[in-house]
Each structure stands twice: as structure tokens, then as C-alpha cells.
Symmetry: C2
Subunit: 514 residues, 2 copies
């Protein structure tokens, strides 16, 4: 395994022999190079938008938080306090569409980790929100604090994950102090853009304070740019619950970013058609978007959807399907109709990191890439339709994302690349190009070097133990964790953070709202 | 396993319960719905074409077959008989580009199996040309006649494989009669468009005669359309060997189709850059194309490439890499420059049907799809960079291809799909759509039904034995083979075919040329 471990080292960290020129790649700030695909003609997209407006005006949205209903009412919505229904006029939606920023400059813990969200940029997040973790050594279990920390380290390790996602729930950490645990970890172990759950105003305020403390931000500096984000799921169909509404308001008022994502399954909590499900998702996203802009016009907000289908025989969710792909395309068309950055999602229904898991995840990924998604969540590690995140799958999917990132860099076909003199005319018929001038200049840097894919022939691979990619991935994540080094931090700021957490914990923490 | 087996039945063959409306899909005649991606700007593509012409004029191609050199010379090429070099002028290439048909109507054994090859159409072939076969029950072995027949049946089973490919070599069949075995099998077990190897004129003439006999075609009918095809690999760099040159001439003179595919690996038998490797591939393809058009102007010919990179540390081939993806894009741009139908290829370097195999194959596949490839070969089952075809991988990859075929059909967003009245307004906030009018109309036909992907939850999946996709695939291919029914054939024609084979075998068959 020694040779294997050496071979698997990341580019730039040196190979077995002499130092070699490292490849000049930047996976941190990507632009989407793929042409955008349309599933519906423009007039049908306009009809879907129009139907969403009609839905908000005529059918309304149930809003459980009184403060949110007040904000909607002050903005001109018709509100029925008896049944908590809010009817949102198209003028309100259009004003919100106009004030929502088209470009969002996200500030991480280090300038090289900053990125901009706008149509055309491309950001990946690993799979998120799972109650369980799994790997080949420890098996499937309810996720715990150690799992949370390990996934965070893996997320930090791969440049291609530009945002931190809440990969798993640390279920052994009490819910009233869990946000201290996850925030401290994000502040200490990574300088990437952090995530906070919207589980009520008290927790969110704690998180904002901890972030400002750890990053050394004044209140003005904090509010001046998004330094963190939350994800808002509506309760489809047409319901906005209390913690989600609080999150929209709190993040907007503090200039922090909400990613609004109705999570709908065609045939279950959404219409059975792509067009119907995305129209519903769009209506719900517009309702939430409107709330953010009423709370603070110009607040950074990312449009989103996550729509796939169920298996109509069993009612089970399915991901990486043709309908999922088409739903991403339709959502992308609507996002471009709005002009807003937006998120979509890959994912898999498979129960383990197998061929199904790989094929579903990558199929869904290409739907996101060709729909021009700005943020692609669940792009690595997500199994069981979101119930589990897998260590091995995260490693395997990161390979695919790295290869996509390589494509973002493009290629050249100038004279030196075409190489009539430096390659083509140097080699006789049936000869080889191993020693041409062009090859000698480029052999160390020409090609992407995988961390999990293995090019050994069958004999060599068999001699090495016939280890499949899934089992090789165990060695990769263990090596990353063993060698993990957190980015340098300001010790005094972290001390203040620790003191804050100790004090707040002693005072009982902040239980989640429901 | 009974329920599983039932669940896996193909759509249209009925489910467990009452008869249900089958989904109206056509995977036989597909159009590529994906937008085309460009890796190089148009002026660089023109430079690559120009450099290819310069290569053919100035550096030349080594042509081992005297007859081919004669044809090139008669067409105006400068030929050096001492070193077998042929220097092809751009006027000759341009004349060939002008006479090669832009659209090729391929005639199969049944009209529903016919298809047209032109830019915009989309045809899949399973992995081809491997010396070995593998499956989880019988292991990896030199491929034999039974393997050939079984792969042929699997290829026939899935509509999404519109062409027959030579998946594996039946190594237990002597080479002087192997073409009788493979032709008889293709005539008896499938009505799809057949493949013949170009292993010398005697074998090819035998194959043409057998095909005409089995399909009941007069000589004029046979020559009037392509009824079969061959694949021509140049010996890169810049060499055309004897059987390949004979194949180009024989297929062209009989109006049958050649798919011209330089198979090049960047950094080994081709330049290390995408631009250089594709320029070489393009030059070689143009040389072969020119020979077909000199032999018979207007002969059906499909442009092609198969270019990936090697691992520069080991020299091992790699597939499904970023460079492979970009090579497909560049070849697609050159094919559109010519206006010709063209083939590209997916594939994997993995040694087994694992996550690497799935991810490489699908990554390469999207490169082909986004490059507008007309024919995508090695799209299912291909392992070990082509040394093995896997039964299980063929089943797993066919799922991905079926999902791509579903996307070819597109989707609608008319009033009934958006469903304001039939869905959105029928459901209260937080309700469900299981029973809306729209759902009731569509629940049997809305979604693609997989043959290998499993949507059972973790508990159910565990109760069923925790079987991964790879092992489930074994059950699927065995069931397909157990239930295989060959399409109806004309018995008297097959009798004549058998008689021909017996007679020719007795006379010693036809050894391959080399």
C-alpha cells in the first residue's frame, strides 16, 4: 500500500521522486463553462412565472410566524389572520425581484476563499443535512460530533468545496448548544464560508455574534457583506413555518445570505409534472424572496430549488432521474428569468456508495451544470435520499467535481499546443510522442491527477489486492484526516469565542424554535 | 427476490397487478437534445484543420496496401513507393469532404430499427472489441463464443443500443471462420444494424454475401444503402495498415459504411495536448476519408475520434478524464466544420464495475453528448481501457443511457402540465398531491422506471440482503438472457445462410489479412 498511498497524494504536495512543477489550478473561484440547456420554450417559462404569481395572489401562502405576516401586510399583502393565509400581489413580488441583488460577494475567513455568487459562477457544497453518517470501517450510525468534525475537515481539504455545508447532525450534542459546537468548529477548522441553521432567532443571533468575534468584524463590517448563509426550506405546498420565516427575516436584516430552496417531490408534495412542481417551487421561492426584500431591500438572497420525483409504486423519493434533471433545467430558466444567482442539487437514493450512487449523483450533477446553477449542493457524499452522508462517497464524488473544475479552466489550441514543429513533425509514422519537445515541456503538468481513480492494469491491480474504488476511498479519507492542518487563526479571537460559548452554555444555551 | 424481479421488469411488459398503460417512449431514433459545447474558438479549430492539411501534404501518411497507394496516386497524391509514403493534397481532401454524404440512412433488419446518421442524431453502441469478458458468477476470462452470443442478446434487448458492436472476441472460434460465427449470430439473434470487422477482403466479401442472403437483398438493394458497418482504426501516428485500407476500399465500393476512428492517447501515440492529439487524429481521419471517396465518391463514411490521455507516471491509458472530455469537444467542433456525422466514445480504465467505472464512463459520456457526437461507442460495459467487457457494467450503464434517451423526449409545460386547476388549486397548504386530477391521469406513466436503480429505503434494502447495484445487475442480465426471444426471421433465408457457411467452412474459410 505504500506506493499506492504515495500515488494518491494530492498534486502539489510532491510525488515520490524529485520535486516537480505543480499544476496551476484554481478550484476556488469557478465559472460555469457549460452551455445552458432549456427544457421549455421561453413562452412556457413565462406562463409558469405567471401561474406562480397567480398562485401567490389567489391561493396564497400559509405563514405561521405573526411577525412575518405583519411584514407582508405592511408591504401590501392581504392577510387572513384566522387561517394565517397571506396573499401576495404581483407588484410586491416584482419589487422584490428588482431589489434582490444580482451579484453577491461572499466573504470567507480568508480572501482567497472569497467568491461571488451570480449567474455564471459555480460553487459546490458537499451533501448536507443528514441524520446519519456511514463509512466502511464504522458502519452506518446516527451522526455524532466526531462525524461532524471529520466531514468539516474533509470539506476544508478539497478546494472544490467552496462553501461549508452542514453535512450531518451531531446528534450527541444537545440541541440547545449544538449551534455553539458547529459554529466553533467552522471558525476553528476552516476559513471557508460558513453555514448556520435557521432554528430560531436566539440561535441565529448567537451565531452572528460568534462569527463576528472569531473573524474580528465590527457590526458594520459584518453587515456590509454576507459572511455566512442559511438554507430556507419551505414546507411544500405553500407553507412557511416559524423558524424558516425568522431565518429569512434575521439573515436579511443583518445583510447575510439566505438560500431559498423549496424541496419538493413530484407526485407527493408537489404536482406530478416537472412544469407543475417547478411552478409551485417558484411560487414558494418568490414568497420567501419577497419577505427578505420587505425586511431589508437589497438583502442578499439566492434563488433555489430541489425538485425530484417519487417512485409512484412505493412513494419513495428518487434522485438523479430524468425528471430531476429536467426540473433543474426548468429552475435554471426561471432563475435566469429573474436574473438571480440560484442553487440546485445533485444526490442519490442509493443505500450505499455503489454504482447506482455514482451514476445517480453524476446524472443529477450534469442537470445542475447544464442548467447554469450557481451553487450545487449535495454534490458529494449524499446517500439514501439525504438520510446519510458517506465518507467514501464524498471522496469519490470529489474526484468528479475536481474533473469538472478542470474543465472550467478550458484549454488552448495555439501554435504551441497544436505543435506542428514541436510534436507532429518530430515523430515518424508508427512512432511515439513520449520524447517530443512538446511532451518534455508538459509531461508533469499536462493531465489531472486523480486521488481515487486508479489506472493500474488488471495484473498490477490484482497484485495490490483487487481493491475497488469504494474501499480505496477509506484509505484516502483516513489519510486526509490524519494529515489535517487547520488554517492559522487569531488566538485571542478564538479565546473570546470560547469564553462566549462557555458563558452562554452556562446560561442554558438557546433551544431551537419550532 | 420475487418482488425485486417483478419490480425490475421492463416497462411495457406489465407489472405485478392489473395491466397498466405503458409509457410511450422511442429509444430507437434519438435526436441529441443537449447544447453543444466548444473548447476552442472557431479560429483555432480552423488552425487545427489547416495544420492537419499541412500534415497530410508535407509529412504524409504511410500506407501499407499497394492498391490504396495506387488509388491515392490516381487521385493526384504524391506517392513514394520506396517508403510507402503518400502525400495528400488539400484539393483532394476538399473534394472528399464535398462528396462524403452529410446524412446516412442506415437500413437494419426491420424498418423500426432503421436510423439516420447525421449531425443531430444520437446512436449508442455498447463497449466493443475486448479480448476478455467478465461477470460476477464466471469471473474474468478470455472471451468465447458463448460470451459473444450473450452480449449480442443483451445488446438486442435494450432499444437504446441501436447498433450492434463487436463487444468481445470469441477466442475459441478459429480466426478463419470467426466471421461466419459472428455474422450468423447477428443475422439470427437480432434485427439491429450489424457490424463486420475489416480483416481483409475475403472475409468482408463473405460477410456482405451472408448479409444479403439473410436479409433477402439483391445486389442493387444491398448497394443502395448501408446495411452494415465497419470500424477503421488508423495506426497512429500516420499509418494505414493493409486490412484497414482494404476495409475502407471494400466498404466504400459496396456502399457500406466505414466509421473512421483514429484511436490516440495523448502523450503516447499522439501529442500530449488536446489540440495536438486531435489535429493528428483529424489528419488521419481525413486521409482515410479521402481514400473512401476516391474509391467511390459519395460512399457513406462516418468521421470519428477516440482520444484520451495516458497517466504520464505509468504510461497507462486513462478514460473519462478532463482531457478525454475536451478531446471529444474538439473533435465535435471539427466534425461540424466538415458537416459530417461522427462517432466519439466513452469508456473506463477501471478494473471492475465499481464507482470509478461508473464515474469515468458517465463523465466521458457527457463529453460525447455535449460535443454532439452522432454515434457514441463504448457507452456501456467497457472496462480496463478496453481489455474487458463486463456483463454487470453493461446493465448498469444501460440505465444511464435509458435516462439520457428519456431526456431526448423533452417535456411539456402547457396548461395541463402546469396544472393550476388540476393540481395547484386542488391542494391545501401542507397537503399532498397523490390524489389530484393531474396525478390520477399520469401516475402510471409520469416517470422513467429503472431496471437496476433501487429506491427501497435502508431498512427494506437491508432486509432484502443489502445487495449493491453491481450484484443486482447479475440478476438482471441473467433474467434477460433466460427470457430472450430472437426476432422472427425468414427460415428459408437462414437455411441458405447455413448452407453457405457450411460450404465455405469446408473450403477452409477465410483467414484474416494482416
Amino acid at each position: 500500500m505504500e506506493a499506492e498511498a504515495g500515488r494518491r497524494r494530492r498534486r502539489g504536495r510532491g510525488a515520490e521522486a524529485a520535486p516537480q512543477p505543480s499544476r496551476d489550478v484554481n478550484y476556488r473561484q469557478l465559472r460555469n463553462p457549460f452551455p445552458q440547456m432549456e427544457v421549455f420554450p421561453a413562452d412556457q417559462i413565462a406562463d409558469m412565472h405567471e401561474t406562480a404569481l397567480r398562485t401567490l395572489e389567489g391561493l396564497g401562502v400559509k405563514v405561521l410566524l405573526p411577525e412575518a405576516r405583519r411584514i407582508y401586510a405592511q408591504g401590501g399583502a392581504r392577510v387572513n389572520e384566522d387561517n394565517e393565509m397571506v396573499f401576495i400581489g404581483r407588484d410586491m413580488v416584482e419589487a422584490a425581484m428588482a431589489s434582490a441583488p444580482k451579484s453577491i460577494a461572499c466573504r470567507a475567513g480568508a480572501r482567497r476563499r472569497d467568491f461571488t455568487l451570480e449567474l455564471g459562477s459555480l460553487v459546490f457544497q458537499p451533501g448536507a443535512g443528514a441524520p446519519n453518517a456511514t463509512d466502511l470501517e464504522r458502519g452506518r450510525r446516527p451522526a455524532n460530533g466526531q462525524d461532524y468534525l471529520e466531514f468539516l475537515k474533509l470539506t476544508h481539504h478539497f478546494d472544490v468545496f467552496q462553501m461549508i455545508s452542514p453535512q450531518v447532525e451531531p446528534q450527541d450534542v444537545p440541541t440547545n448548544v449544538r449551534h455553539y459546537f458547529t459554529t466553533q468548529a467552522q471558525m476553528e477548522l476552516t476559513d471557508k464560508f460558513p453555514f448556520f441553521f435557521s432554528r430560531g432567532t436566539p440561535q441565529v443571533m448567537d451565531c452572528f455574534e460568534m462569527l463576528s468575534m472569531a473573524r474580528g468584524l465590527s457590526d458594520d463590517e459584518f453587515r456590509g457583506n454576507p459572511h455566512c448563509y442559511t438554507i430556507i426550506n419551505t414546507n411544500s405546498p405553500r407553507t412557511l413555518d416559524i423558524p424558516m420565516a425568522q431565518g429569512l427575516i434575521d439573515f436579511a436584516r443583518h445583510g447575510q445570505m439566505s438560500i431559498i430552496t423549496p424541496f419538493t417531490l413530484m407526485g407527493a408534495m408537489a404536482p406530478i409534472t416537472v412544469a407543475g412542481a417547478i411552478t409551485l417551487s417558484h411560487a414558494e421561492a418568490l414568497a420567501a424572496l419577497t419577505l427578505t426584500q420587505l425586511a431589508n431591500p437589497g438583502a442578499p438572497v439566492c434563488y433555489g430549488t430541489f425538485t425530484s420525483n417519487v417512485d409512484m409504486k412505493s412513494g419513495a423519493p428518487a434522485f438523479g432521474t430524468p425528471s430531476h434533471f429536467q426540473a433543474s433545467l426548468a429552475a435554471g430558466q426561471l432563475a435566469r428569468y429573474l436574473g438571480l444567482p440560484w442553487r440546485s442539487a445533485a444526490g442519490s437514493a442509493s443505500n450505499i456508495n455503489d454504482v447506482q450512487a455514482a451514476n445517480e449523483n453524476q446524472f443529477g450533477l450534469w442537470g445542475c451544470l447544464m442548467s447554469g446553477a450557481t451553487v450545487i449542493i449535495h454534490s458529494a457524499g449524499w446517500l439514501e435520499s439525504g438520510l446519510t452522508v458517506s465518507f467514501e462517497k464524498m471522496i469519490c464524488d470529489a474526484e468528479v467535481l475536481n474533473m469538472v473544475a478542470e474543465l472550467c479552466a478550458g484549454a488552448q489550441a495555439g501554435n504551441s499546443e497544436i505543435g506542428f514543429d514541436s510534436a507532429l513533425s518530430e515523430v515518424e509514422p508508427s512512432g511515439h510522442f513520449f520524447a517530443t519537445s512538446q511532451t518534455m515541456e508538459r509531461y508533469n503538468t499536462a493531465f489531472y491527477e486523480p486521488h481515487i481513480h486508479d489506472y493500474a492494469n488488471f495484473g498490477t491491480w490484482t497484485e495490490r489486492g483487487s481493491v475497488d474504488a469504494n474501499h480505496r476511498a477509506t484509505g484516502v479519507w483516513k489519510e486526509i484526516l490524519a494529515n489535517f492542518e487547520a488554517p492559522a487563526q487569531d488566538v485571542s479571537r478564538l479565546g473570546a469565542l470560547h469564553e462566549f460559548i462557555a458563558r452562554r452554555t452556562k446560561a442554558g444555551g438557546a433551544p431551537p424554535e419550532s
